[in-house]
Subunit: 216 residues, 2 copies
DNA sequence: CCGAAAACCGTACTGGAGGTACTGTAAACC
DNA sequence: GGTTTACAGTACCTCCAGTACGGTTTTCGG
């Protein structure tokens, strides 16, 4: 029945915002059901315990994130055949997407769950690890495509560079939150982009020129 | 009286580990006093409420961190007069220091508190912001010293680059935690180092050669 | 050594939260 | 129209944050 998954989705939506603002342990079920307009019975109908809620949150977040990644870099793939340009354009689009969020990025669920790993069972923790590995693998794949054609200024490990991109995002989110400046996240994503660019562009080319090439 | 601050320090030590493992909201006072071997009265003698505990944790963490920064980059300053080399050597020492922690970095208190900011009052949140600003300012100062002598490949904002270094650290900590690989943090710190190096070294120089120059 | 402050201990309470357990029931679907 | 879905209602238990307040030991300054 459709009403069921609708309520479930509403709970997850409310829970995600609460978890990102206060942490998982400090998020009470009572608070969630109050905002969702249901009773405790309703909550436990959808999630047998809090760990199941965490699993649902993570699955939802991961799916949404993968969709965003696929959208952004899929779009980049439409615009160019060059694997290097694909990554550079994708990171630009990604950064623009983050800059467009009015209140700034609400936070990375994987990051906050990594900082509260003792609250979860092994299954959830492994899910967190697999999620991050998935992101790294996504970027690593693109970097390997680049390395098949381009020779970098210095020898690089694609895994390492993929992690650098992920670090700039999660680190950027934290800095944005800590400083209260939403602009830091897109800014740092562009720094990671610039890192990639410097590694593969033998000659220094200004960003304006790059943009013209990308637009072509 | 000395015994007082000793107990207080023990509480903070235990609380820090707990907060970094489970989050602030999920850390119970009962658990802290059990491990510290005191009663609830003793706890509330030192901290009138949980917010005061947070303040103590943050102050302690910040002071310890500043000491580490001063030590590492002070040492780098002894080894060279060149501001660029100072930053590069300092980041190397910093990364080595992080790699030397057996279980890996336990976590950044500022990061976890940023992800639970609704649990704290405005004073604590401003303290978090000021702490991060302090780190950024520390790195920005060194970058400005470099810019006074060196011309980078591309125009850079020292503030932005300083944030990149901070992002690589906090992002690296998260990746290390999420992946269960302590080595990711020092690895990513060296990636940030390499970023700085590429920005200021017009000619590509291999890391081995750089190390020889630094050792001289 | 003594008085006073510091550094706790003991106990008792309130309110809220996680979670369990069951019964009941309106609505949807087949 | 019967079964399943999707909840509501009620009651209960345990654990935790926080308050209150009186009592006790330890430490240090004089």
């Amino acid at each position: 029945m459709r009403k069921g998954i609708e309520t479930r989705e509403r709970i997850l939506e409310i829970a995600e915002a609460a978890v990102l603002a206060k942490g998982f342990g400090a998020t009470s079920i009572d608070e969630l059901i109050a905002e969702a307009g249901i009773t405790k019975s309703g909550f436990f109908y959808h999630f047998k315990d809090k760990n199941e809620l965490a699993r649902g949150l993570l699955a939802r977040y991961s799916a949404r994130n993968n969709l965003l990644l696929a959208g952004v870099f899929g779009r980049a793939n439409e615009l160019t055949e060059d694997p290097l340009q694909r990554l550079l354009i994708g990171l630009n689009l990604f950064a623009e997407h983050m800059a467009a969020i009015p209140e700034g990025h609400p936070g990375c669920l994987v990051a906050t769950m990594s900082y509260q790993d003792r609250l979860f069972n092994r299954e959830i923790r492994e899910l967190v690890t697999e999620t991050v590995k998935g992101w790294n693998g996504f970027f690593r794949g693109m970097i390997e495509d680049i390395l098949a054609i381009y020779t970098p200024r210095e020898a690089i490990d694609p895994d390492r560079l993929a992690r650098t991109i992920c670090c700039s995002i999660d680190g950027g989110i934290i800095m944005s939150k800590a400083l209260g400046q939403p602009g830091v996240l897109p800014e740092q994503m562009l720094m990671a982009r610039n890192y990639v660019k410097m590694l593969f562009h033998p000659v220094t080319v200004h960003a304006v020129q790059i943009e013209e090439v990308e637009a072509a």
